[in-house]
């Protein structure tokens, strides 16, 4: 700064101010740099750690923890057979079925907002869904098609499991659970069929439940049924429909089976199924082939 100004109180003040400003600027710049550095590595932020409970270092331990520490992922083991990751072995049908079930639950819940299981309302509610509710038509379509697809996926899953002999020791029990899940899936789909209360569902269900009449011993037209005093007012079919014909009660029962009882059951069996998958040693393969000569008796 120029000589002659030295000692001038006014300029001193200015200098001091100058210095303060400089310091402030410097402080701000450094902080800013730090911040940007952090942002470059989001997995280092406190937020991230709080969320995933896992550090940033991408090492084996952390990868394992990623799965272990995640409620949704922990149905998986931390590591799997390297070749099971390939699509070719599992076809992913199990997972697909489960994913479809999630979609169905989601769309189903939304549909329940608009649906009354009563003779007067049911059909009109479907019309309402199709013509009034935003995305209602797509919602209904997705629910129906997902349901069909799920039945398909479950069948293919069974085919795969059989072809890979995965039901063999130690997975016999889980296979049985799987069979139950298959049945439940079809029942879910079937109970949903009646709910629109249109001709299609009505007659499908009529045909379906008429078989119930023929249950041996318990059906009014089944072998030894009449002999045991079975009439169309006390037999299995009556129990299914809550009446001797497909009517308001049948609608209500179908609704409750479809929206509460069956989903509950199937979810429980899902749990068991997955649990056993893990306990029985994860995906069954692809495991090394075994030779006939190696059979030990």
């Amino acid at each position: 700064m120029p000589e002659e100004n030295r000692g001038n109180p006014k300029t001193d003040l200015l200098e001091q101010g100058e210095g303060k400003v400089q310091a402030l600027k410097h402080w701000f710049r450094t902080k800013l740099d730090e911040q940007t550095e952090e942002l470059k590595r989001p997995e280092d932020t406190q937020l991230y750690k709080a969320f995933f409970r896992v550090g940033r270092v991408d090492d084996a331990r952390n990868r394992a923890l990623h799965t272990l520490n995640n409620l949704f992922l922990h149905i998986h083991p931390t590591k799997v057979n390297r070749d099971a990751v390939r699509y070719s072995y599992t076809w992913g049908m199990g997972g697909i079925s489960f994913y479809l079930f999630i979609i169905l639950t989601f769309t189903g819940v939304l549909l329940m907002f608009y649906y009354h299981p009563t003779k007067v309302q049911a059909f009109r509610d479907i019309l309402y869904l199709e013509h009034d509710v935003p995305f209602g038509l797509q919602l209904r379509n997705m629910h129906r098609w997902a349901a069909h697809l799920m039945v398909l996926a479950v069948w293919l899953h069974m085919l795969r499991v059989f072809l890979t002999g995965s039901y063999k020791r130690p997975r016999e029990f889980n296979w049985c659970i799987g069979v139950l899940l298959l049945v439940l899936t079809m029942l879910l789909s079937f109970t949903g069929y009646l709910l629109p209360d249109d001709q299609l569902g009505f007659w499908a269900v009529t045909v379906g439940t008429n078989m119930g009449r023929a249950t041996p011993l318990l059906g009014s037209q089944g072998p030894f049924g009449p002999q045991l005093g079975m009439t169309s007012y006390n037999d299995v079919r009556f129990a299914l429909l809550g009446g001797s014909i497909v009517d308001a009660n049948a609608l209500l029962r179908a609704y409750i089976w479809h929206c509460i009882a069956l989903p509950l059951m199937i979810s429980i069996f899902f749990g068991v199924h997955f649990w056993r998958v893990r306990k029985d040693g994860g995906a069954s393969g692809p495991s090394p082939v075994m030779l006939e000569s190696e059979i030990r008796d």
């Binding site: 697909i96 997705m142 069909h148 001709q199 006939e292």
Partner: protein, 327 residues
């Protein structure tokens, strides 16, 4: 009249039949896909059986292998990313499907107006088709129960220790055959018939044949005993007058063919099971219960196509008729 492609299109384009059409392609594909990998494994097995030395060192998979590679990989990210991909693709498929095809909605339910044909949902059409050949109590109750129980029984009656966790055909010829016949040859086949062949009145229409509700089908089904002219004359004088000789005669007569079938079928299956040395070895491992249950299930399963065969070719309705039930 044949050559009615419009009719075929009507069936195929029915929204609820889309999954069945998809099935037409998916099932064969995945069957092939599974067996293809099975055959690859079988080749490897053959090589290893031939060369014990190699068998000791070999990693015994058809997938690419290198000693330095990890035997297991982390679920995150290697599996999860795959799952994510599949989930997305599936969602897209569903969205597009839902956008292009509307779920059917017909007239309000009306018990006074019967639908023709009145069909069950496609996945139950197998059962409905069985109804054509069996009494409801068999088709609608016994068969489904047997199917479920039979499926559940599989792991406990399959004594073959091989082919656990990898695709193979050679090591499980019998199992694979039985299962494929059961699932695809019967269940899915019946379903396809129910979808594409069964028209108004659940009558049999060949593809491209017009579904004419006024069509009338010649139906003259007789029972086996009628074929043999059983009327119980020879029994009448043996029985108290109060007893209906004809019923008894038929009842007794019916036992014969049924029993016969059981014996023959059992014997046939026994032969099949013991066809090869290997299968003999497997059979040796089976307990009595296992054998009996398996035989029973197989016999019952075989009875389905057999009955269909009898019905379609010889128009035989029942082989065993009693006042309470008929088979």
């Amino acid at each position: 009249m044949f050559g009615d492609w419009h009719q075929l299109w009507v069936i195929v384009s029915n929204p609820d039949n889309v999954p069945v059409v998809a099935l037409l392609f998916l099932v064969p594909f995945f069957t092939w896909f599974g067996l293809y990998q099975g055959v690859k494994n079988d080749r490897l097995i053959a090589r290893l059986e031939a060369d014990p030395e190699l068998a000791r060192t070999h990693h015994r998979k058809t997938q690419p292998y290198h000693p330095t590679w990890a035997k297991e990989v982390h679920v995150w990210p290697y599996l999860l990313r795959m799952e994510l991909l599949v989930a997305i693709i599936l969602t897209v498929i569903l969205l597009v499907w839902a956008l292009t095809i509307n779920a059917p909605l017909e007239e309000p339910a009306n018990a006074a107006i019967t639908m023709n044909p009145a069909k069950a949902p496609w996945y139950f059409l197998g059962l409905q088709e069985m109804l054509e050949y069996f009494d409801p109590w068999i088709a609608g109750v016994v068969m489904p129960t047997l199917i479920i129980l039979g499926l559940m029984a599989i792991p406990f009656i399959d004594a073959n220790p091989l082919g656990n966790g990898y695709y193979t055909y050679r090591q499980r010829r019998f199992a694979v055959w039985t299962f494929l016949v059961g699932l695809e040859g019967l269940w899915i086949m019946l379903m396809l018939i129910g979808t594409f062949i069964r028209g108004p009145g659940f009558m049999w229409f060949w593809p491209t044949q017009t579904w004419d509700p006024d069509r009338i089908e010649f139906q003259a089904n007789r029972n086996l005993d009628q074929l043999f002219g059983i009327n119980g004359d020879w029994l009448r004088h043996l029985l108290p007058a109060s007893w209906n000789a004809e019923i008894w005669a038929k009842g007794l007569f019916g036992i014969i063919p049924v029993a016969l079938y059981f014996l023959v079928a059992a014997w046939v299956f026994y032969k099949v099971i013991n066809a090869t040395p290997f299968s003999r070895k497997v059979f040796g491992r089976m307990s009595l219960v296992q054998t009996v249950v398996m035989e029973l299930l197989l016999i019952l399963m075989l009875s389905l196509p057999l009955t269909i065969f009898l019905r379609l070719l010889f128009r035989i309705k029942y082989v065993w008729e009693t006042p309470w039930f008929s088979i």
